[in-house]
């Protein structure tokens, strides 16, 4: 399976988009993966794997929002122009 470098970058972008799309209040709270639920318990317990994954999701949603918007605009316009 020959994978090109652009495929990796696109896959990475789509992966981060998928993480950014998960809504905290509507979806993650329902399945108990929300960051606020974790914090309102016994403090921030960042040693278990689940807590770390939740922290990662929360951070990606918070900090990668603006760069993701810019990157998506670039990639979409490139794909429109170049096909």
């Amino acid at each position: 399976m020959a994978v090109s470098f652009w495929a990796l970058l696109e896959a990475l972008l789509l992966f981060f988009n998928a993480i950014a799309v998960l809504n905290e209040q509507r979806f993650l709270a329902k399945i108990g993966w929300s960051h606020q639920q974790q914090q309102s318990g016994y403090g921030v317990d960042s040693t278990t794997a689940k807590a770390r994954v939740m922290l990662l999701i929360h951070d990606v949603r918070k900090y990668m929002r603006i760069p993701l918007i810019l990157l998506n605009v670039c990639v979409i316009s490139l794909k429109i122009v170049l096909g």
């Binding site: 470098f5 794997a49 990662l56």
Partner: protein, 309 residues
Amino acid sequence: MAFNPYQQPTQPMNGLPQFSPFFANNNNNPNPSNPMMMAGQQQQQYAQGQQQMDFGNGNQLFSTMMSQGQAFMANPATNLALQHGFSVAENYVGKNLSRFVTINKLKYYFAVNTSYVARKLRLVLFPFLNRDWSRKHGTDPSTNSISFLPPRDDVNAPDLYIPVMAFVTYVLLVGFWLGVQNKFTIELLGMTASSALVWYIFEVAAMSLSMYIMNINCPIQTMDLMAYCGYKYVGMIVTIISMFVLNSLGSSAVLLFCCLSLSFYLVKTLRLAMVDEGGAQDHGYKRRTYFILSIVAAQVLLSFYLTIY
């Protein structure tokens, strides 16, 4: 003779920048009344000036563009702009590069000499003969602190020279092997290189991410991880060389041996690299063991996958 795009036109240039064939007045026609005639005259003059170009009537546009390019490059304003651009780029890159890539740390991984490379290759392929697996400490003269010795002085230190060289050699050998089988195209070389690079980046990123998620107490540094994940290319090179000589069963045996050697080497080295130095109780022992085993499994799987030609 072949077409030489770098040859300067033999007729003298005007002082004005010649960006359009309609401005040129190289021939002796002082009344540029007909632009099409001008273009035609200029084409004839260039065709005479560079008799190597044997274009014919259909390629006038191409030769016009080439002549414009040469006029552009010979223009002194272009040289000035280029120099200015280079100096700006140098300043900007020089100031901001140290924020992203620490050059000193990178220099550590490339401080090798030939005897180190020979010993390391022997270590990766035949680790059974080694006795001492610990990395040596020494005083760093620039920062005056105790740190690991560079690879020049310590055979157990990871380096990035061997992975880089082995990666390039692997790509070339795959191209050579495909050529021997008459299956070679130029695109395959680039595709092999980018595919192997993508898998390498994916592997290093997955290992770093899993080290964070599994909350390992003493994680391996990213550069060290890059080095350790790059040693499998040595085994892959040996396998591909053996493909030339042996049949598929023999090369599979060589691949198996290289994978076993690499697994042995990695287990011994990573166990020492991830030792938990704080506290008497060792809580993360199981996680570290699983992590080391997963690294080794990834190396073996990728070695098999990237040498199935």
